[in-house]
């Protein structure tokens, strides 16, 4: 089914989304680590507009933006469905993915890295977002139901990356008391065989985050 490569950064949850999806579909691929900070030439060549990872290369053609890549993977390869089959459920999956990426991701990032009033505002916004997700996942194993799906993969940074950084910077936002259903979901997700394989080493991530505590930058 062609030559597949993933251009990425080891720490990036967006890159991991792509790897998780490929593993779920049983697709073999070559992983290419690049310097995202100094914008390796490979990155500039295959993602000239945004200059970001991940990039999926399929038979030399590049697809960028993790959410777009996930849909592409689902359409091209057989295997377990990443998005639901029913059009309305697919639309709702896209809605939740959008909510996570457009509302929760920026809010959580700001909550972790900003200071003073900006941080207070961001913490409130992040809490709001997490509360909404809490009620959406309550009573379910995954956002996708019994099986991991699109929303779970998109939301994975909340399940693994966010709690780690949350502890390191001392925010303690993502706790069992505040978000019991989300914490349970996070545990289930990170325990899944395909997901587990992709998660970067916690200590290495902590080191990177600690390095950033001096000069905050987005994850």
């Amino acid at each position: 089914m062609g030559e597949v490569k993933v251009i990425g950064g080891w720490f990036s949850p967006f890159v991991k989304r792509v790897e998780m999806a490929l593993k779920m579909k049983g697709v073999e691929y070559e992983y290419i680590e690049v310097d995202v900070v100094n914008k390796s030439p490979l990155l500039l060549q295959h993602n000239p507009i945004h200059k970001k990872v991940p990039v999926l290369l399929h038979d030399g053609k590049s697809i960028v933006e993790s959410a777009v890549i996930l849909e592409y993977i689902d359409e091209v390869w057989e295997g377990p469905n990443i998005l639901p089959k029913d059009p309305y459920e697919r639309a709702m999956a896209r809605f939740w993915a959008n909510f996570i990426d457009e509302k929760c991701a920026p809010a959580t990032r700001k909550a972790l890295w900003s200071r003073g009033e900006e941080r207070e505002k961001a913490v409130e916004e992040a809490t709001q977002g997490l509360k909404i997700l809490e009620s959406e996942v309550k009573g379910k194993k995954f956002f996708g139901g019994d099986q991991i799906g699109y929303v779970d993969i998109i939301g994975c940074f909340l399940a693994y990356w966010f709690p780690i950084v949350d502890q390191v910077v001392g925010l303690h936002l993502f706790t069992q008391d505040k978000f019991p259903s989300l914490c349970k979901w996070a545990d289930e997700l990170c325990d899944n065989e395909f997901i587990k394989e992709c998660l970067p080493d916690k200590e290495r991530l902590v080191d990177r985050v600690r390095g950033h505590s001096q000069a905050p930058r987005s994850l």
Binding site: I49, H58, I63, E65, P87
Partner: protein, 227 residues
């Protein structure tokens, strides 16, 4: 007798480009629907009920199931009513269409709207410059080869997402006296704009220019706290 939930309803606001995209999508596919105008400055309980998360229009309601977000609605229309497809059929082309739709939303709409409605002076200059840079990517994408973004003869997803550039951006340019889409600098986009506005589905379904001028002039004043 209980009123049937069956059928398609669209909750919208007359001047919203997000709502307009959905209207065009439905017309291209020949989908019949009931339109419900919502005053977004005086939101009804209906809107809060249908879209509790953001309270925004458009909201599509199909057989009682609500769905917000114009881009998501357009993909839904394409999947439920597969004839007259809005997105390309080939997965790689579809990925490209989704990529460009996001670019239009996150970069072009953001910068033009900020420039026109929310800024002045230096900040406005910066946003205008950014808008022009982003539009250059779309100009390149068109390449002077095809009439529309993904199919030569048919309007599709990316055209609909870009639609506001054809009919709202000129209004914004008029109220702020800035020039963003200069035909001389953007010949491909100028041609696209012409083709788009002359398309039978588009040309008969645009808000009145005078009403848009009045509305957006007022919005700009409110945003810049001049009233």
């Amino acid at each position: 007798m209980e009123k049937s939930n069956k059928g398609v309803k669209l909750v919208g606001f007359w001047v919203s480009p997000f709502v307009q995209r959905v209207k065009w999508g439905m017309k291209l596919k020949g989908i019949e629907y009931d339109y419900i105008e919502e005053d977004i400055f005086n939101k009804s309980p209906l809107l809060s009920q249908l879209n509790p998360l953001t309270g925004k229009v458009p909201v599509l309601v199909h057989d009682g199931n609500p769905l917000p977000e114009s881009a998501i609605i357009l993909e839904y229309l394409d999947e439920r009513w597969p004839h007259a497809p809005l997105l390309p059929l080939d997965p790689y082309e579809r990925a490209q269409a989704r990529f460009w739709a996001r670019f239009v939303e996150e970069k072009i709409l953001e910068s033009t709207r900020l420039a026109a409605l929310r800024s002045e002076g230096e900040i406005q200059e910066r946003e205008v410059k950014l808008a022009i840079e982003h539009l250059e990517k779309m100009e390149e994408k068109l390449g002077g080869k095809s009439r529309f973004f993904f199919g030569d003869d048919t309007i599709g997803y990316v055209d609909l997402m870009m639609g506001f550039v054809a009919y709202i951006l000129p209004v914004w340019e008029e109220i702020t006296a800035v020039r963003i889409l200069d035909a001389a600098r953007f010949p491909n986009l100028a041609a696209w704009k012409n083709n788009f506005l002359n398309h039978p589905v588009i040309k008969d379904d645009l808000p009145s220019k005078d009403e848009m001028l009045t509305y957006f002039q007022w919005r700009r004043k409110v945003n810049l706290k001049k009233i």
